[in-house]
């Protein structure tokens, strides 16, 4: 589904990502892990079109991801969350989620301006759908509450709701476990698995938290120094000597 092939990103003379290739298959939860500075975030930024790679191709369901602009990525069916939460603070939880449907509507500014009836209808449909997503993520109670000031764990779920509102076929999660307690991480793991079933999508997870990655993913890719050093089932990867090396420090 998502195919990354030979992607290389250079910053000056430094190769942040070096000839990286992997695939995320339909419906799978894929974890991308690696020590600090391994190039995960760079790769993430390449997939979300914030960075342009120096070489390589990325296709999503056959569409060339590298030919679209940042705001068009979500239209292809890839939706993301942010490492340090990036909700719209002045909007209610419901409005945040409706904003998530932006890419699915063609209602134009001019249509809004003149109250074009089909446009109003479309707005209403998407509002109802957003509400339904909140219901499914148990966020109904806070639907009309301003996002600003809600507890961190709740906001993480709101962000997921916003990402889901785009009806993506793939969800990109940037360190979703960051800032959560142990118990919350376990809950999050369950939630991600549940979402994958409920909304039938695949998930690419960039994460530090080994426990979370090992417990929910079907497929793990390990990066170190910009290169891929392992790619396989969680159990295989866990026992891979290169991975142990990268995480525990190179002794030799």
């Amino acid at each position: 589904m998502l195919a990354i092939d030979g992607v290389t990103v250079r910053f000056g003379g430094v190769k942040a990502v070096d000839n990286f290739s992997t695939q995320v298959r339909d419906g799978e939860i894929c974890g991308l892990i690696g020590p600090n500075g391994a190039g995960k975030t760079t790769l993430f930024n390449v997939i979300t079109r914030i960075l342009q790679p120096n070489a390589g191709t990325i296709t999503f369901d056959g569409a060339d991801l590298l030919s679209v602009r940042t705001h068009q990525v979500v239209r292809l069916g890839i939706s993301r969350t942010f490492q340090n939460l990036a909700l719209f603070p002045t909007m209610s939880v419901l409005e945040n989620t409706i904003a998530g449907t932006h890419s699915r509507s063609r209602v134009s500014l001019v249509q809004s301006a003149v109250c074009w009836p089909p446009a109003l209808r479309r707005d209403r449909e998407l509002r109802d759908e957003a509400y339904e997503i909140l219901r499914r993520l148990d966020l109904e109670d806070v639907a009309f509450v301003r996002a600003e000031g809600l507890p961190f764990g709740t906001l993480k779920r709101v962000e997921l709701a916003r990402a889901l509102a785009a009806k993506p076929r793939m969800l990109l999660l940037d360190e979703p476990a960051g800032g959560l307690t142990h118990g919350e991480v376990a809950e999050l793991g369950d939630l991600i698995k549940h979402i994958r079933e409920e909304f039938s999508l695949s998930v690419l997870l960039v994460e530090h938290h080994m426990g979370l990655v090992m417990s929910i993913t079907d497929h793990v890719v390990v990066m170190d120094n910009g290169e891929k050093i392992a790619d396989g089932l969680p159990d295989e990867v866990r026992d891979n000597p290169k991975v142990l090396d990268a995480y525990l420090g190179r002794s030799s």
Binding site: N45, I50, F82, Q83, D174
Partner: protein
Amino acid sequence: MQLFLEYLFAGISNGAIYAALALALVMVFRGTGTINFAQGEMALFTTYIAWGLTTKNVPVVLCLLIATAAGFVLGAVTERVLIRPIERKSLLATLIVLLGLFLALNSLDGILWGNQNYTMPSLFPNAVSSFITVGGARLYWANLGLWIVVAVLVGAMFQLFNHTRLGLHMRATASNRESASLSGIPVGRILMLGWGFSAAIGAIAGVLLTPLSPDSLGVGEMFPILIQASAAALFGGLDSPGGAVIAGLLMGVVEALLSGYVPAIGGQLQEAIAFVAIVLVLLVRPQGLFGSKEVERV
């Protein structure tokens, strides 16, 4: 040649003032990430103070020092009282507060000192005959003095930035406030100092500029200069003190030569030219000539 030199001298004088104010703007920008719209009005306010003192027969040098000190206090207090509590909210709120300060200070000047213009006594010999001749062109002592003071001022600022502990702290605060704070730098005090220095520079610029021509101390004096200085700061790169100084000088000289040789665009179109310059720079090279590219943080 003589005409050229005279235009050039006038240009350098204006340019020196632009450079000083642009440097002041850059100092605030590096600390707080905003353009201080009230920079010119702060300078004007302190210049009025200096003028008020000269009418009481205080020596001009002393007036300059007092105005500089007053500027420093004004800047530091503004940062502490008006800016710091609001800047966390949003850039928009900060800009609106500064706009309010601009308007309030300007009107206060008018209320305190009236709408007439005054002549500011010069720090340097300022008679019609106090000039030296360079290549046939007259170079007045007031101009030369201004160049020297601004040069010393800029030099001192750079010395401060690059070779003192305080400067190091300022640079650290500018590049990343959080890490600066974590490494024990008193970020709040550094920001206050930055604003203080910046307003002090403005005060000096005002006291030096106004004597260059008679009757030029008035409520509308500083604003056009602020516009030019902003254009210069933008042109040099908002986060680059060196760029601001060079661009300020350049701007003064180009402007003087243009209005000298091409009368059609000179004089009353100056601000329009600055506007065009600003837009062009922003479109072609948003980070300015010497500035660093903004890195997108996700």
